[in-house]
Symmetry: C2
Subunit: 334 residues, 2 copies
Amino acid sequence: MAQTYGTPFYETDQMSDWKPMNVLVLGGDGFLGSHLVDRLVDMGHRVTVFDRFPYRTTRNLEHLREKIRLINGEFANRQDLTDSLDGQEIVFHFICTTNPAESWNDPLIEVEENIRPTLTFFEIAVRQGIKKIVFPSSGGTVYGPQDSAVDELSTPKPMSPYGIAKLTIEHFLQYFHSRYGISVDIYRIGNPFGPRQPVFRPQGVIAVWMHAILCGTPIHIYGDHTTLRDYIYVRDVAHLMTHSMHHLTSSDIYNLGTGQGTSVLQLLDIFNKVIDIPFDYQLHDRRPSDNASIVLNSSRLLNFYPGFKFHRLEDQIAETWTYFKTAFQTTCSA
Amino acid sequence: MAQTYGTPFYETDQMSDWKPMNVLVLGGDGFLGSHLVDRLVDMGHRVTVFDRFPYRTTRNLEHLREKIRLINGEFANRQDLTDSLDGQEIVFHFICTTNPAESWNDPLIEVEENIRPTLTFFEIAVRQGIKKIVFPSSGGTVYGPQDSAVDELSTPKPMSPYGIAKLTIEHFLQYFHSRYGISVDIYRIGNPFGPRQPVFRPQGVIAVWMHAILCGTPIHIYGDHTTLRDYIYVRDVAHLMTHSMHHLTSSDIYNLGTGQGTSVLQLLDIFNKVIDIPFDYQLHDRRPSDNASIVLNSSRLLNFYPGFKFHRLEDQIAETWTYFKTAFQTTCSA
């Protein structure tokens, strides 16, 4: 049975040695980041969010404005970063301006916009005495083509510049760990979905499909029943990433998926059940920037939480649909 | 029995479908590059060398000036690169301005000086219709700590920014292969040594030791009998890399080492036998940027050349010593 969101569901939530920490969330106003911030605030931590706030408003955190500190900064600006790291104990780094489809056509942007500024961030974090850096990597793009559910010992074979950059950042993070002793946790996440997922990026098929349906345009399906993905509800991701808060001095790589493979055609079946307005679809071949199949064996992480139950895919697609129908305000392109 | 250098020693040297090709060697005036150029000229190929020639003279190729074309260019200059690639069929990319010890203290230089300009080179090479790119990677730094002789299926665990950059470039090269169909060969080379190895870099212990001995200063030994390296004579490296000339349309990763592990203390024994002037030494702990132990299983490549015999380490250290004694002209620092 699925857990209800917000109730403590594993033992470490009730640990007797719990104490509030100073947490910085880079990109905390985004999709994954904001769900983590929700969770950290629930837990009672002192949360600072570093993001771009060009209009003096947040995208996803208005409900928490009184409870968190917001810093409007540029990731490429060393001074902005240094200031934001002052007094922090642990940093979650969600800033990522690229996606697999875009950098497939322009690999240099991974070097310019991801690898280089992230290295600079690691250097500053070490100098500022940060105890732990948490990095969300990408199970779907780091491993590349694999035959069955992969664990963390599988050899990564990234196909896309996006996956190459994620893996390169993982390696540099491990270098900073061995060089300076800073703790690092790396989560190779499956395909997260849920409320707040952006719809204008060519990444996150569930949000993209829902957006198309709301706009009355056909959904585009790339792949077939062999194109398996490990869809994971974003709140399960946020829950499980707080593992790093309870283990401040350890360092490891964790797969973060459900272990269940779902094909795009099975996803279409679920949409047919859940979506309560009619929609059309078009089938296409898999795109070259897409991995054929990726399912994650996440037992390394889940062994810490023996009672953990993932939300059921169909239930959470329904919840996501409710969110998009009610909260979603956008213009549909012609 | 060791083969004599210069005699054809495997069947493909005498293949009936042999034809001369246009070959560009980036960094062809350097240590590894110049030995490959020697070999390619011997084979009858049309060789262009792209390197820096600030004094209108070569470091290592004066004996071939009438037989090869030299281009004085900057690797970071797109126009220089584009011009040099014009009309070429295959490119060997030996340009590397970093080394493990230096970038251990400044990881960003790997991004700036290696990863980024190499990506730009790959893009230009694809546009210019190059058929194959050959990249010398680094077995010693890409694999990281491993228990026994590693083959190409072992999971790389690079420890140093140098090794991380080599592996990142490997991954990008495979992306260019899958994206554009250009052939790519990657050689993960052991610890090459021999004539022409630079003595002023903290890389290449045999040359560095010989330089110290010639200057009358003590040699510094980092590590112990557990610090194994796979020393390979540079001419064996050059020989085996011409594999790519005979297989223009295939793409693969090859380990390139002897499979024999030698500890720094065994190396010291060989020096005691071979070096004919007295020298002192000082023992130190292994440096953090050094891998503990690396021996390469190169059977994937050697299976193509069943008759191949590596030069004997002791013989080639003796030959290298003769080279350094006679050709070596430098000032010893105080």
